[in-house]
């Protein structure tokens, strides 16, 4: 049988598709979203109580708490949705978060008078087991894996 050789399949990468998480919220992303949701909840609850009950006591710290809460909520939602636009926003919020925890962490150590009360990011998140410092790093690592995969998929398709 000399059938004209079928055009060689553009050998799809032999990734076992079932084993590969298909969404940013699956696989390790499941853990990431869980921890982000936890921080979204605790940061917004903390900021809400602080701003509602004693805003004048430490306005800068409380506004930063509220800002952190917004960033965590944004990261949680965008990591859960996971489409290309959401991933771009997720990269932005993780980067903001990393910059925030480094800046506020340094600021809180340098100028203690400005922070009579702690924020989530004070002392690089030491009050939260330094999870706020580690979390955006893992977030960005996870998201970078995704953009890499999207790029290879696009090149194999074309």
């Amino acid at each position: 049988m000399s059938e004209p050789a079928a055009p060689p399949e553009p050998a799809a990468p032999p990734e076992p598709r079932a084993a590969q998480p298909d969404l940013t919220r699956t696989g390790p992303g499941r853990l990431l979203v869980a921890v982000y949701a936890l921080f979204a909840l605790s940061a917004s609850a903390r900021a809400g109580v602080q701003i509602a009950t004693k805003f004048g006591h430490a306005p800068v710290a409380y506004l930063l708490s509220a800002f952190a809460a917004v960033v965590y909520i944004l990261a949680t939602v965008t990591l859960t949705v996971g489409n290309p636009t959401a991933r771009r926003i997720a990269v932005l919020s993780c980067s903001t978060e990393l910059a925030g925890v480094l800046a506020v962490g340094t600021w809180s150590l340098a100028d203690r008078a400005m922070f009579p009360d702690a924020t989530v990011w004070s002392s690089y998140g030491s009050g939260y087991g330094f999870v706020p410092l580690v979390l955006p790093v893992f977030g960005l690592l996870w998201l970078s894996r995704w953009s890499k995969r999207a790029r290879t998929r696009r090149t194999t398709v074309t």
Binding site: P21, T26, G27, P28, G29, R30, L31, V33, A34, V35, A37, L38, L41, S42, A45, V49, A52, T53
Partner: protein
């Protein structure tokens, strides 16, 4: 109030976290025994919430009542959400989510004590 319940929760939470992380390391998915363990933790947390509410009903107040109420609402929700989020994941990362819930339960008990020292650990 003696500290038997919160102490039990801390030990149970840490044990659950350890076992769950072992499951993740061994590449296991969520199992029924793990889910049952989350159920036990949830019951313990509800008992603790009940004990704290009883203290409030006696007329005693912590320094920051809104904070305490926030913790009382959030505490029993954590294992339920974690169980759901872990169950929909069909990989080793399901148990990892449960590990977070176990750790959080332990941390919440310490924080409850800080918010209201009348609650012993």
């Amino acid at each position: 109030m003696n500290g038997a319940v919160p102490t039990t929760i801390i030990i149970a939470g840490l044990a659950l976290a350890g076992y769950s992380l072992l499951m993740t390391a061994l590449n296991r998915r969520m199992t029924v025994p793990l889910l049952a363990a989350v159920g036990v933790l949830e019951i313990l947390l509800l008992v603790e919430v009940g004990l704290v509410v009883a203290k409030l009903a006696e007329g005693q107040r912590p320094a920051s009542l809104p904070t305490l109420i926030g913790y009382l609402i959030a505490t029993p929700i954590v294992p339920v959400v974690a169980a759901f989020w872990g169950l929909v994941e069909r990989s080793r990362w399901g148990p990892a989510v449960i590990a977070v819930a176990g750790l959080v339960a332990a941390v919440l008990m310490v924080r409850l004590h800080e918010i209201w020292p009348i609650i012993h650990v």
